[in-house]
Amino acid sequence: MTSAVSLQTVSRHFGAVKALDEVDLEVGEGEFFAMLGPSGSGKTTCLRLIAGFEQPTAGQIRIFGEAVEGVPPYRRNVNTVFQDYALFPHMNVRENVEFSLMLKKVDKPTRAREAEAALELVKLGGYGDRRPGQLSGGQRQRVALARAIVSRPKVLLLDEPLGALDLKLREQMQDELKALQKTLGITFIFVTHDQGEALSMADRVAVFNFGKLVQVGTPEAIYRQPNSRFVADFVGSSNVLEPEFVETIAGERRWASLRPEAIHLLRGEGGHSALIGTVVSRSYLGATTRVGIALGETVLHAVVASGTDEPAEGDRVTIGFAREALHLMENAG
């Protein structure tokens, strides 16, 4: 795998604030890569470093093998789709999309043709004469996308591109972005705080917290084998079990995670499991129901299919799960 973007112990400190701290990262060519983390975790700083808006305080960034230290953003063949789109308000949609071609002194007819093609790619063909102010949020997002891909950059950076859209539109755009990335074959690096988005779209996910890279892996690996309490908790609201509790069920004194859907519940106190608890909460989520069960001090969450005689609050239930479902974590952090 050719490396499209590589970070070698890259740090970006603002005074005492370590926005990004000693991050090592490799993004492969043609990969759809997600950077996931809560706000202030360093994921956006990481993106801005790759785009060239910020310079690392330490470490080295390479784009397709070339060190980009001291290379200004306008000389990097990397384009960005900004969180709030950053469309030029004094230009119409076509002029916005043509902007990078205009700077490259591409002749007018070619420019217009390429811009229209890019707009068609994002399903906005024929919108060239409109002003950004006349478009809806979703349409502006598409224009920003068309503007960023029209000159075929080597890497496309997307900063929370779907953050401002409503749920329905977001799901639709997720599919379209995925398809677009396949069509173009460009490396996409995508910043999001939405774990669902990261898992559903990306080939690989990097999870950030407090400026540190916590875990990198495929969505399955991140979801099934989180390496820390933070990842387990942040990606898919897993049950994070304390070492004392884990010792009683697995015999090892380590932190562990247990996915809510891996738990099955039996009515009453039967079965061979020693884990018996009381239902303390129940929330209906449509296809599934999320049930909170108190086992002494610990509260576990289970997700069960709705309409299958889910237990009610106050019911005594026995908890069962496969031993493999209990994931012991390497890192206590």
Partner: protein, 319 residues
Amino acid sequence: MSAVAATAASAILPNQRGWLGALSDHFWRQPKLLVFLLVLPALLWLGIVYVGSLFALLLQSFFSIDEFSGLINYEFTLKTYAELLRPQNLDVILRTVTMAGAVTLASALIAFPIAYMAARYARGKWKALFYLGIMLPLWASYLVKVYAWKLILAKEGILNWVFEQLHLTPVLDAWLSLPVIGGNSLSISYTGTFLVFLYVWMPYMILPIQAAIERVPTNLLDASSDLGATPMQTFWKVIFPLALPGIVAGSIFTFSLTLGDYIIPQIIGTSAFFIGQAVYAHQGTAGNIPLAAAFTVVPIVIMGLYLWMARRMGAFDAL
């Protein structure tokens, strides 16, 4: 349950403010009535006092003066406008418009970097200092400033002295020996008039440009750079077009203020008339109100044309 909650058991809270409360309720149900009442005084002022007097002025310019009796003839005629187009009057108009144009251009050129620095780089304490620096001259009396400039520009003034100390007197003399813009000393030349206009109206150019640049989001500059624009290209393709409404607003101030001023050219510069002085002379000693009115129509027409052109050129597209 607390006592308060028990007494206010009704789903609708009682009106405790008497007729004021009732009035509030009424305005809440009829928001347009409130807006109308709030706007009415301003509308009356603008409509009657402001536009009305402007209209009366315009009307005056269509009357004429009887050259023998000096009495105003209240019959509609274009005679006064024909008089306005006489060479000596055209001369006044041309002189004033050229001066206003030069002052506007120069103040835009000087104001832009200052406004840019203030909008992009000055923060906190420095920003306050910037505003103070720009506004402070506005607090001093206009006449005091103009007379101060007369002393600065005089032959025995500090500016001459500075040139002398720097051994640059020949440069100054060469400048003053130029036709039209030169003169015996700076204080009685067009150059002097120009410099004082430039100084006096500068804040009116800086503030709107600064406000316009401040409104340009930083991420547009990032986006421009990201898409391959060098800082120079970003300036011309993004910052400048977005600052243009501010430049137009500032130029409206500097241009119209210069067009209408009659004090600066009277104190500093040559004895040749500017529009303001012509208006002053005609409505005062000469008693030729119609010609004075016709003169005042000139700046109005010029500003109208200027705004129309600015609009055509897309200066307000981003608004």
